[in-house]
């Protein structure tokens, strides 16, 4: 048991996972608050196709990942709230994008015949945080720190713009630019989370800690900090669980912890609401 913690792959996973979780907690809080969880869902589709396209083209997986998700984030920002297409259009487009991802997956797995590439699709879809090398972990940490700093930098005006867009715009807050920049940050976070838990599960890492934090407190900045803390706790809990029980894949363990923590907040809330509110 103790031997696992001294293994380099576990240390890399904890190091990268911690910073990725902080970034996911911070960005996820704003995603939930701005009711843009569906954008996260869309980003998860795009992340898969981007990563597979890069692999099929012979580039680094992360290049395609970041290019696709940040590009998609900017595209959503460009479409804006007014030009938002309805969910039938979104569903059609994303079914097609996923189909394209399946195409690239086959191109990639059949182009290098004989070599052990069959797991590439699984890796991108469901992540493999224990497979991160030292330099990969370092890059992931650096990008996560950058995302966190940028999010904290724009946190105050972004919160204002989220809670009351009209007043914020009247006060001279660049609402449109903020929304644009935030979606680009969300894209970068999605690409980061894909390396940890995979593109299909990143939605849970974005939504669960933020949803739990919003249930637990009404104060925005406390909820923001709580969301990041819960995300880190989910990540550590998942990694520990996976180290304890090696048959559980880390992505599942992380999602299970996140889901359990979120479910626990539903048990806490009613008892707190039942108490008379102090006047």
């Amino acid at each position: 048991m103790s031997s696992v913690f001294s293994q380099p792959f576990f240390q890399h996973a904890v190091l990268a996972g911690t910073f990725i979780a902080v970034a996911c907690g911070l960005v996820g809080y704003f995603l939930v608050l701005r009711a843009q969880i569906f954008a996260g869902d869309a980003l998860s589709h795009v992340a898969f196709t981007g990563a597979m396209a890069a692999l099929a083209g012979g580039y680094d997986l992360r290049l395609g990942l970041f290019a696709a998700t940040i590009g998609a984030g900017l595209l959503f920002g460009g479409l804006g709230r007014r030009g938002r297409p309805d969910d039938v259009v979104i569903g059609s487009v994303f079914a097609w994008i996923l189909g394209l991802g399946a195409f690239f997956l086959t191109v990639y797995t059949t182009s290098r015949s004989g070599s052990d590439q069959g797991g590439a699709g699984t890796t991108v879809l469901f992540g493999s945080i224990f497979g991160l090398h030292g330099d990969q972990a370092a890059v992931a940490v650096a990008i996560a720190v950058l995302v966190c700093l940028l999010t904290l930098l724009i946190a105050r005006p972004l919160l204002f713009a989220t809670l009351d867009e009209a007043v914020a715009a009247a006060r001279g807050v660049p609402v449109r630019l903020l929304g644009f920049g935030f979606l680009a940050l969300a894209g970068a976070t999605a690409a980061e989370a894909t390396q940890a838990v995979g593109s299909l599960l990143l939605l849970g890492l974005l939504a669960a800690p933020a949803g739990a934090a919003i249930r637990l407190t009404d104060r925005p900045f406390r909820a923001l900090a709580l969301s990041a803390a819960l995300a880190v706790a989910d990540m550590w809990g998942g990694l520990l669980l996976s180290a304890e029980r090696p048959e559980l894949p880390p992505s599942f363990a992380i999602m299970a912890t996140a889901g359990a923590v979120y479910a626990a907040t539903f048990l806490i809330r009613p008892s707190r609401a039942a108490q008379p509110a102090p006047a």
Binding site: G99, A102, G259
Partner: protein
């Protein structure tokens, strides 16, 4: 999928009767075409109502539930069909019990849905990784595979499909009424809530059928895209229902033919063909609008 990489890979000639003879000399291709027929008819009809009722989000959640169902069936060794139908119908009942919250609800509900979907997918991944024997990993379940369809499966698909269609035929007219104008329908004594629950169960069954052809992630290719295309092309219900069936069948069979001759997965071709039709329908719609506008402008100019 592995078929075309064989040394004796079939080559598409434009001599169609010979091509079909070649394809249908394999039992699994005949079964694939039969299953495609059943699934596209059922999915197009149910999907048409789903698009009309704007319940694509519920459809997405149901299709996500199909993945852990199939994975658990593989792990525990019971029938794959049972896993698909059991999980999808159970998920439909859960959604119906929670009520129609969907996308319009607040931020908190969307966080719940996102978490539940991700957790369902994670469970599927757990079952897959516990079951070591699956060589291709989860990609066959997620993106569709048509090589292993047996005659028994086709019969089951057909039986469930008939049930769904029969139920849809019975509730079709009141369901249409309730979808278009729920308040007036409720006022006239139509049991709107019961119909909505029934429809979700039908949707679950149809999603389970489609998952077995296109894979759980690409169910929308047969459920949403044909119906959306048909509703874009014509406003008359009967015509667009028929058109939606034709489009689904067309893209499914064309996808099967393409997947037989190319080494790429079936899901890619089916989504590709369906989406091409959707884009064409939109272009056609815009072109028609532009023509109408210029014609009316000419008429106004002529009378003035």
């Amino acid at each position: 999928m592995l078929l075309a990489s064989d040394a004796t890979s079939p080559v598409f000639s434009w001599n169609l009767p010979a091509d079909f003879q070649d394809m249908w000399s394999y039992l699994y291709m005949v079964n694939a075409f039969r299953a495609g027929l059943v699934v596209s008819v059922v999915c197009a009809l149910v999907g048409w109502f789903m698009v009309l009722r704007r319940q694509t989000f519920a459809g997405h959640t149901l299709s996500v539930a199909a993945f852990p169902g199939a994975a658990l069936a593989t792990l525990a060794g019971f029938s794959l069909s049972l896993g698909y139908f059991g999980f999808c119908v159970a998920a439909a009942l859960v959604i119906a019990a929670l009520g129609r919250k969907g996308r319009d609800a607040g931020a908190e509900e969307s966080a719940v849905t996102g978490t539940v979907q991700a957790f369902a997918l994670a469970c599927g991944f757990l079952f897959i990784s516990l079951y070591k024997g699956l060589l291709e990993g989860p990609t066959a379940l997620l993106f569709g595979d048509f090589l292993g369809i047996t005659t028994g499966q086709v019969l089951l698909l057909a039986a469930v499909g008939m049930l769904v269609l029969a139920a849809l035929a019975v509730i079709g007219r009141p369901l249409f009424f309730a979808s278009v104008d729920p308040e007036v329908a409720a006022g006239r004594g139509v049991p709107v809530r019961l119909l909505s629950t029934l429809f979700l169960v039908l949707l679950g069954a149809a999603t389970a059928e489609a998952s077995q052809i296109t894979g759980t992630l690409l169910v929308f290719a047969l459920m949403v895209i044909p119906a959306a295309t048909a509703q874009r092309l014509t406003a008359r219900p009967a015509v667009s229902l028929a058109l939606s069936v034709l489009l689904a069948l067309g893209s499914c069979w064309a996808g099967l033919i393409a997947a037989y001759y190319q080494p790429y997965p079936l899901g890619f071709f089916v989504t590709g063909f369906a989406f091409a039709g959707y884009v064409l329908a939109h272009l056609l719609g815009w072109a028609r609008e532009v023509v109408d506008r210029s014609r009316s402008a000419v008429q106004i100019g002529g009378t003035a």
